[in-house]
């Protein structure tokens, strides 16, 4: 179906961008609805950024505030950076969804509500004493009260389906309506439904009917005066797909398996929000990738270390609590100098914290959370798509320098998505791997003078028999050694080995703004989008501001110290209480300031703009 055929006499307004949120009960299928809307939006060619936000409970009590599941998408004909601070449209499937999301809707914004769910019981569960739809809400927003449940029933009344089935498809009515409102083609969802229900033609027919009913409702009723068009964005030329951070992480791992020629071995234990990496990677057994769901987090990393010892590429994936459990083994990988990728998909903490929400709280844990002096390279992805490239880079460093490497992502990157330009295979880096074969002159800790890496000598190779151990060992020979001078030397070699990687990574550069100025906004990880957007706004307002972003948290880029001196003030926004700031201040003796909101959500652009303005004026 094309847009022009559908428009009839209603006028189509062209907008530059929109932010919409689907919010409903955990059982209302909001993640699915949002995902489908995202796919259709990607196909249209808009730039986009999404924020799925769902409860940790699989099914919190129906209708409760704790059970609200939401999916937000920001899409535009221009390049955008974040899932949006405020909403243009809120689709609220029940009172609890309205209650939790209304504060984010802009004044005058569109509020589409399923009035059928506004029963006395549901209102009570959401803590409303009276129906908010009957109150002054109508003066502040454009409210569209729609009987979504009843209209869904009407669409299916000739099919004699069980009430439960009918009720479950009401999200598709909302989806269809939003497709009409934003002139999206329904083809991707129709194809998806056909595939999903290929063996169940009745359900398929029902779902298609409801989807179209929603679309036609928008088109034919008098409720909506116009609908909107958002033209495709001018992105870099190429082939695109929509991708989440966890998907890109998996693709990075698959690519590394191919680029290194090593057999990838993932040892993992289920944990939110990292589990999807285990699920997805497990599908690639046909490529010889081996995945192992271990009995616990410790076994997961232990098996990955064993795999690397035997010549595979050991990987383990987890979140903050799992990193705690893996600390001792991480130390062993550092001491025995084996390549290993440890993925920390951060979530809210401490302890169990907020499993489904995002945070940047683990930086200091991965930097220092082990016994003694145990340096380790740390890389952080900045956007969902960036997880791909960052992972390949993490593998390159692990293999070249014979070291475990932390790959950092977070809940927002893991589940959020963006259009991703699919790389050409021939542009991916080659990663050279060398196993030691010659017995002559072999010592387990005789280092490559350039990289300081020890040889990777695999069990099964004649003449290289040796024992590696967590006990301190002598330089070169690798024999157990308690000598004070040797220990001091080994501690310093381990530190130097990681520190010198700064010579093999790119310098930091400004993203927006000039190379000198009044203020630098420095970030790392998933805050890139919010910081970019904030910096753009500040530049428009005429401030001498710039921003830069760190992929390499350890070691830092070689020029970072000099680079920071180009700006009078430094602001470091983080979703923690200032962990990068602590490292920057300690290393460079610079009075960097922080902007720190730890709410389980991405940082708001406006918050960063305000903090920056305040600092500039101070």
């Amino acid at each position: 179906m094309t847009l022009t055929e559908e428009k009839k006499e209603k006028k189509i307004e062209t907008l530059e961008e929109a932010t919409i949120r689907f919010a409903g009960d955990s059982g209302d299928g909001m993640q699915l609805t949002g995902g489908q809307f995202t796919n259709a939006t990607a196909i249209v060619g808009n730039d986009l950024s999404t924020l799925p936000d769902f409860p940790a409970e699989i099914r919190a009590p129906a209708g409760s505030l704790a059970g609200v599941s939401a999916f937000q998408i920001h899409f535009s004909s221009k390049e955008i950076h974040t899932p949006g601070d405020i909403l243009d449209v809120l689709v609220a499937m029940n009172p609890a969804a309205l209650k939790t999301s209304l504060k984010d809707l802009k004044p005058g914004g569109m509020l589409i509500v399923n009035t059928d769910a506004f029963t006395e019981t549901n209102l009570k569960k959401a803590g409303y004493e009276e129906n908010p739809l009957e109150a002054e809400i109508n003066q502040k927003y454009q409210v569209f009260p729609i009987e979504i449940s009843r209209l869904t029933q009407l669409a299916l009344e000739d099919m004699n389906l069980p009430g439960k089935v009918v009720d479950r498809s009401k999200n598709l009515f909302a989806l269809g309506l939003m497709y009409w409102l934003y002139t999206r083609p329904m083809d991707t969802t129709i194809d998806w439904l056909k595939k999903k229900f290929s063996k169940d033609p009745v359900i398929l027919e029902a779902n298609l009917k409801v989807l179209k009913a929603g679309y036609h409702y928008g088109e034919t009723t008098e409720t909506f005066i116009s609908n909107y068009e958002i033209k495709h964005a001018k992105l870099l030329p190429g082939k695109y797909r929509n991708i989440t951070g966890n998907e890109a992480t998996v693709l990075g791992l698959v690519a590394a398996h191919e680029l290194t020629g090593l057999t990838m071995f993932l040892g993992s234990y289920p944990i939110t929000p990292a589990s999807d990496i285990l699920h997805e990677l497990s599908k690639y057994k046909n490529l010889g990738i081996r995945t192992f769901q271990a009995e616990d987090e410790i076994a997961a990393i232990g098996a990955a270390i064993g795999a690397s010892f035997a010549g595979g590429l050991g990987v383990t994936t987890t979140s903050g609590p799992g990193i705690c459990l893996k600390s001792e083994f991480t130390g062993l990988a550092i001491k025995t100098e084996l390549p290993l990728i440890i993925c920390d998909i951060q979530r809210g903490g401490p302890s169990t914290g907020l499993p489904t929400k995002t945070e940047q709280g683990d930086l200091l844990q991965v930097m220092f959370g082990r016994t003694s002096e145990s340096p380790i390279p740390i890389l952080a992805a900045a956007t969902p798509g960036d997880c791909f490239e960052t992972m390949i880079e993490a593998v390159r460093i692990a293999v070249k320098y014979m070291t475990p490497v932390f790959f950092m992502s977070d809940g927002y990157l893991a589940n959020g998505s963006e259009p991703w330009r699919i790389p050409q295979i021939n542009t991916l880096p080659k990663i050279e791997v060398k196993f030691r074969k010659e017995a002559d002159g072999f010592y387990p800790y005789l280092r490559n003078p350039d990289t300081l890496a020890r040889p990777w000598a695999l069990p099964g190779t004649p003449g290289l028999e040796h024992v590696i151990t967590g006990v301190e060992t002598e330089q070169i020979t690798g024999k157990i050694c308690y000598d004070p001078q040797n220990h001091d030397a080994m501690i310093k070699i381990r530190a130097k080995r990681i520190a010198q990687i700064e010579n093999d990574i790119p310098d930091i550069k400004t993203i927006f703004g000039e190379s000198k100025g009044d203020l630098l906004i420095l970030g790392w990880g998933s805050t890139l989008g919010s910081i970019n957007a904030a910096c753009e706004q500040l530049l428009k307002q005429g401030y001498k501001v710039a921003n830069a972003h760190l992929r390499y948290l350890n070691p830092f880029p070689k020029n970072l110290g000099e680079f920071l001196k180009n700006y009078k003030k430094i602001l470091i926004p983080e979703i923690n209480l200032g962990q990068l700031r602590l490292l920057i201040r300690a290393k460079y003796l610079i009075d960097a300031q922080g902007f720190n909101i730890v709410g389980g959500q991405p940082l708001k652009v406006n918050g960063i703009v305000e903090a920056a303005t305040k600092l500039l004026k101070a």
Partner: protein, 345 residues
């Protein structure tokens, strides 16, 4: 695994140049010597042996072998062994652990390595004490045991390693003792020939912190009456004068007088029984049940696909399915370009 018929090695080929730092007289020496005595004749190239250990006195073992070794962290050797074997199934992997390392801090991994039938040997040195940390009670220490950490006596019931292994579905379970090197070597040979997890509990005397822990069935004057050496297909007869036998009364083993012609009632060992019950009954004797002799030998040996066999079978099938077009994605190029895509010009 490539196995040649003639041995090219001697015991000396497996002895490392490192100074051995166990206490003089430690039972570990006998175990080291037995292993070094058995492995040369297995027909496996030396470079294919890997000894993996955790932490504890026993876990120093890999340093005293001249093979590949990985001395890991406390309790976790089995997890490392799992990764090693999953990458290179051709290696002969031997895990060295102790009662503290394997049953306390590493208890979880023991259960899971065994239930998966991981293809490696597990040698659990049981001295019923923590030696390296200088004398605290261990999970196999007897109730009431007075140690540095239990000055009033232990109030923990001890665990029986063989029972744990059998309950976890072990396909090979044996028990032997440091004092009987000949028997230990026989058991090690059988373990080496087994496909899948071979779990061997080795009673090992710690003469510094728990001397004579096993004298009740190792001391010359009592050992024959307090231990029974079991063999597949043979009746369970023991005693200085071969005059005692074991019979089963329901699920309960009893000692009967074999000199009086009760031989027909004598229990005959079947290590290949599908049912775990017999192995469990035998493993408990003298350990969990007082008044019965402790059983030494192979308690259980059955054939079952190993984790590695299943792993590589599954991988092979996935590859075949992929080649025949039964899976949507085959190459990196196809995988990167999968799903809904669009062009931007």
């Amino acid at each position: 695994m490539a196995i040649s018929n003639q041995s090219q090695y001697t015991k000396a080929d497996f002895e490392s140049a490192n100074d051995i730092r166990w206490c003089p007289g430690c039972g570990d020496y006998a175990i080291l010597s037995a292993v070094q005595g058995v492995v040369p004749a297995l027909g496996i190239p030396k470079e294919k042996f890997v000894f993996i250990s955790g932490i504890g006195c026993s876990s120093r073992f890999p340093h005293y072998m001249s093979c590949y070794g990985f001395h890991t962290i406390h309790g976790r050797a089995l997890t490392v062994a799992t990764g090693v074997k999953s990458i290179n199934p051709d290696l002969s992997v031997w895990v060295i652990t102790g009662d503290g390392d394997g049953l306390s801090i590493g208890g979880n991994h023991l259960i899971h390595a065994i239930r998966r039938n991981q293809d490696f040997k597990i040698l659990l040195f049981n001295n019923r004490i923590y030696g390296l940390t200088k004398g605290q009670y261990s999970p196999t220490s007897e109730l009431g045991k007075k140690t540095k950490s239990t000055p009033y006596g232990s109030i923990d019931n001890p665990i029986n390693p063989a029972s744990v292994a059998i309950a976890s579905g072990a396909t090979f379970v044996a028990r032997t003792v440091d004092k009987n090197v000949k028997h230990m070597m026989e058991v090690l040979k059988k373990a080496a020939a087994h496909k899948g997890t071979a779990f061997i509990e080795i009673y090992q005397n710690c003469l510094v912190f728990n001397d004579n822990a096993f004298e009740g069935f190792t001391k010359k004057d009592v050992k024959d009456d307090h231990s029974v050496y079991i063999e597949h297909g043979k009746p369970l007869i023991f005693g200085k004068n071969h005059d005692k036998a074991i019979k089963l009364n329901g699920f309960h083993p009893e000692v009967i007088n074999a000199a009086n012609g009760n031989i027909k009632e004598t229990l005959v060992h079947n290590e290949h029984a599908d049912d775990r019950g017999l192995a469990y009954v035998l493993g408990q004797m003298g350990v969990e049940n007082e008044g019965l002799p402790v059983a030494f030998g192979v308690l259980r040996q059955i054939e079952q696909p190993t984790y590695q066999e299943r792993l590589f079978e599954q991988e092979k099938l996935a590859k075949e399915k992929s080649l025949s077009g039964g899976l949507p994605q085959q190459t990196l190029e196809q995988i990167l370009n999968a799903g809904d895509t669009w062009m931007v010009k």
